[in-house]
Amino acid sequence: MPGITREEVAHLARLSRLELKPEELDHFAEQLDVIIGAVARVSEVAGQDVPPTSHPLPLTNVMRADEVRPSLTPEQALSGAPAAEEQRFRVPQILGED
């Protein structure tokens, strides 16, 4: 298994929406390389004909009755918002100027 490079860590940080500092990139790249080297052992079983387990319980499509229940008021739902306006979450611009 190949290790991980600083450039890959920078790419993954962008995908993860983490604005890492250059020194963090250096440090994490080094540490993640060691961690990935250690966890890569799982690929020993890659070729084996074993079904994957994603969850300890064999549950599918757990549904509840479609009934109206008490829920949060708009004030409660917005109580932790960094910014709110007219009963809505106020967010920075999501589209460009033009």
Binding site: E19, Q31, V39, V42, P51, H55, G80, F89
Partner: protein, 497 residues
């Protein structure tokens, strides 16, 4: 009044029910203890003095009216700061949620309140429950009451330390890879990871949803069982909640009889990396079980050697997805919103400022493991390992009732020793991780001090899913035999703070 803090939960509830002491007196004694020692221990992130006293008064009023009290009514508890509490701050040990006041209670919180349990406050933890030492908290490390320069385990170090420091007789933890059991082991307290799906995750801030499980922490096996019964059971608000009766754990804790039980010693959990004194106490516990009439055999679970690598792919993968919710839009921290930056830029700046190193490492690692090109080799293989581990458990449990191992390879290590060495830190969870991957039930129980450093050693007991009662049966018997042998409980040896 100082003696009130030394009562077990069962004794406390009994004394309150009989009117020997009021719930308010009990709560006040614990609040005073927190006031006196928590500057040194740092087990609590938030102490809810008013709420605790109000809850205690409600219990006293109920009793005065002649209403029936539950088995834990008036007993104080320390709640890990990862469960939401309406009107009370919930930080998960992160700057990301500093000052956040949840508008709703977790199901577990509601159940505790309904049981008349007095919630003293919220306990310190590794950020978003990622860590094995509580050093990853954004609010400073917690000290181990046995030696304040050492870690109390993690991620639930605050809950375990609160018990060992006699700040609370009961606490709640969450166990994703060992975060209840490992702190229990290194603080000389009892910690149980119930069967996955038996304690509701509604209102438990998610780290790794297929592994996270809330559970009881206590100073005695019976107290843990009483708390287990109070918090477990089906919850329609959690789609992975098991709709089946809770095993009779309280009854099992009182049996104190392991005659005829078959106990398997996991061969793979020994050897290099295991501290001599830990193995000594473990071997003595196995011998004790034999003396108590259990049949002990050695069991091999070869896939367990791949559990740690599989865990550090699965847990970070789920974490990278779960923690995407911290986007600086709806709650929590927002930085860099100067009117010119885009939402995406604000999200990235906020996550950089709000998350600590371990959380960032795991988000990146999980994003990597789920990337196209690596998915099959890493995440896919880890899922296969998960199947192999469950098969190892299945074949082991075909021949034995429970499995035993040391809970942790070593006793509590010094604060700072592994702080910047993630792989060394991860090894603390070597023996606890397989149960999370398989979703079965496991307990850590104190079995003495390691002779070389006089620090607590934990015995891990593992039972099949939905056979949690077996943990309490074995744990209760071992605890009773050891207390008889010592003439006191292990925690009576904790140095004065």
């Amino acid at each position: 009044m100082t003696e009130l803090i030394r009562f077990t939960a069962a004794e406390t509830a009994g004394a309150i029910a009989k009117g020997e002491v009021s719930a308010v007196e009990v709560a006040q004694a614990h609040l005073d203890r927190i006031e006196a020692v928590d500057k040194k221990v740092n087990a609590f992130l938030h102490v809810d003095t008013e709420g605790a006293l109000a809850a205690a008064r409600a219990v006293d009023e109920k009793r005065a009216k002649g209403e029936e009290l539950g088995p834990l009514a008036g007993v104080p508890l320390a709640l890990k700061d990862v469960f939401t509490t309406k009107g009370i701050p919930t930080t998960c040990g992160s700057k990301m949620l500093e000052g956040w006041i949840p508008p709703y209670d977790a199901t577990l919180t509601t159940r505790l309140k309904d049981a008349g349990v007095v919630i003293l406050g919220k306990t310190n933890m590794d950020e978003f429950a990622m860590g094995s030492s509580t050093e990853n908290s954004a609010y400073g490390p917690t000290g181990n009451p046995w030696d304040l320069t050492r870690i109390p385990g993690g991620s639930g170090g605050g809950s375990a330390a609160a018990l060992a420091a006699f700040e609370a007789p009961l606490a709640i933890g969450t166990d994703t890879g060992g975060s209840i059991r490992q702190p229990g082991a290194v603080t000389g307290t009892v910690g149980v990871k119930p069967t996955y799906g038996s304690v509701s995750r509604y209102g438990l801030v998610a780290f790794s949803s297929s592994l996270d499980q809330g559970g009881p922490c206590a100073r005695t096996v019976l107290d843990a069982a009483l708390l287990h019964e109070a918090i477990a059971g089906h919850d329609p608000l959690d789609s992975t909640s098991i709709d089946a009766p809770v095993p009779a754990v309280v009854e099992a804790a009182k049996m104190r009889d392991v005659r005829g039980m078959r106990i398997g010693v996991v061969k793979e959990f020994a050897g290099e990396g295991y501290q001599t004194g830990v193995m000594q106490r473990f071997d003595e516990s196995v011998e004790l079980l034999r003396e108590l009439g259990a049949e002990v055999v050695e069991v091999s679970c070869p896939s367990f050697t791949l559990a740690l690598p599989a865990y550090y792919l699965i847990a970070p993968s789920e974490c990278s997805s779960n923690l995407a919710r911290f986007d600086a839009m709806r709650y929590g921290l927002r930085v860099g919103d100067d009117g010119s930056r885009s939402a995406e830029e604000v999200t990235a700046l906020t996550r950089e400022a709000g998350f600590g190193d371990e959380v960032k490492r795991r988000i990146i690692l999980g994003t990597y493991a789920l990337s196209s090109g690596y998915y099959d080799a890493y995440y896919g293989s880890a899922q296969k390992v998960r199947t192999l581990i469950s098969r190892d458990f299945d074949s082991a449990f075909a021949g034995v009732d429970v499995l035993v191992s040391p809970t942790t390879p070593t006793t509590a290590f010094p604060i700072g020793e592994r702080a910047d060495d993630p792989m060394a830190m991860y090894l603390a969870d070597l023996c606890t991780i397989p149960s999370n991957l398989a979703g079965n039930a496991a307990m850590s129980l104190p079995v003495g001090l390691a002779p070389e450093d006089n620090l607590p050693v934990g015995l891990q007991i593992i039972a099949p899913a939905m056979a949690d009662d077996r943990l309490y049966r074995v744990g209760g018997a071992v605890e009773a035999a050891l207390n008889d042998k010592w003439g006191h409980t292990l925690l009576e040896e904790v140095p004065a703070l």
